[in-house]
């Protein structure tokens, strides 16, 4: 896995039922999907439903789930968040990779950035940034947890 690696672009259709389901899952009280026209702030996490293996940034070397932690997540919107009916094109890239050493051994930080552009105009609608931490084997110098 290297910085600069990209997944293939993929289409996301923002649908009322999915917006509603996501809003209920995060226990939102506003009537998303009907009276509230936009999606909840973290709705773009559900872009995972629209992406296949070819759309991931990893290529053929996905990180191991058992050792992967989610460190940070950020969303930035150009104007209001996506709304029902929007058609967006998402594309993820690996922005940077760096290593730190902590109590639990070597940690590899992988920062991915996904741009979401409007299908019709190509304009940027939103960006999401994820910081994933891959926990390595304990340090050899005896600093085991």
């Amino acid at each position: 896995v290297k910085a600069g690696q990209r997944g293939e672009p993929f289409l996301i259709c923002v649908e009322a039922g999915k917006v509603r389901e996501f809003a209920r899952a995060v226990r939102a009280t506003a009537r998303y999907g009907s009276d509230t026209p936009v999606s909840p702030p973290t709705f773009l996490m559900s872009a995972a439903h629209w992406a296949g293996a070819a759309n991931a940034a990893w290529g053929t070397e996905p990180p191991s789930f058992e050792r992967l932690l989610h460190g940070e997540q950020e969303f930035e919107f150009v104007g209001p968040p996506p709304r029902v009916g929007d058609r967006l094109i998402g594309q993820v890239r690996i922005d940077q990779i760096y290593t730190k050493h902590g109590r639990r051994g070597r940690m590899t930080f992988i920062e991915t950035v996904t741009d979401f552009r409007r299908e019709s105009t190509g304009e940027l609608a939103a960006t999401s940034r994820a910081t994933l931490i891959e926990m390595g084997a304990p340090e050899e110098d005896g600093a085991r947890p």
Binding site: K18, E21, F22, A23, R24, A25, V26, R27, A28, T29, A30, Y32, T36, P37, V38, P40, P41, T42, M45, S46, A47, A48, H49, F65, E66, R67, L68, L69, H70, G71, E72, Q73, E74, F75, E76, F77, P80, P81
Partner: protein, 137 residues
């Protein structure tokens, strides 16, 4: 009611929300909705093999709840940025408290921006996550 730019002041507290104890059902519902089906949040054997006592909370569930909570206060259409940093893991049975305060009001050209600092804390006082949001009013 969305607070108005003029009455909102730096230091103002957001509404506080306390949720019922976390359940694995909450995690499963969120994972189904988001499409992230990492078994570490619902499969006890998988979680134990990975070195945990059992399944732990999906960070993005609490982060999403906190974001929606503050967006319901300042307006779901008005949010422009949301960032969260995970700290302590949360576990089934945990009671989390969600809230924060307004840290800054600023103008950027003719845009009026409000910055809010937020957290979700466990019943132990431990911080599960912190978050920062920007709204345009």
């Amino acid at each position: 009611m969305t607070p108005d730019w003029d009455t909102l002041a730096e230091g103002d507290a957001t509404p506080v929300r306390v949720e019922p104890p976390l359940t694995i059902t909450d995690f499963v519902r969120y994972q189904g909705a988001s499409g992230d089906l990492n078994p570490i949040h619902h499969d006890p054997e998988f979680a134990r093999k990975a070195g945990y006592d059992g399944p732990f909370a999906v960070g993005m569930l609490s982060a999403g709840l906190l974001a929606a909570h503050v967006a319901e206060w300042l307006g779901p259409e008005n949010i422009r940025k949301y960032r969260t940093r995970f700290s302590e893991q949360a576990w089934p049975g945990d009671v989390l408290t969600y809230g924060g305060r307004v840290t800054r009001k600023r103008r950027e050209g003719d845009r009026r921006l409000v910055e809010v600092e937020l957290s979700a804390t466990r019943q132990t006082g431990g911080v599960h996550l912190r978050a920062w949001a920007t709204f345009e009013l």
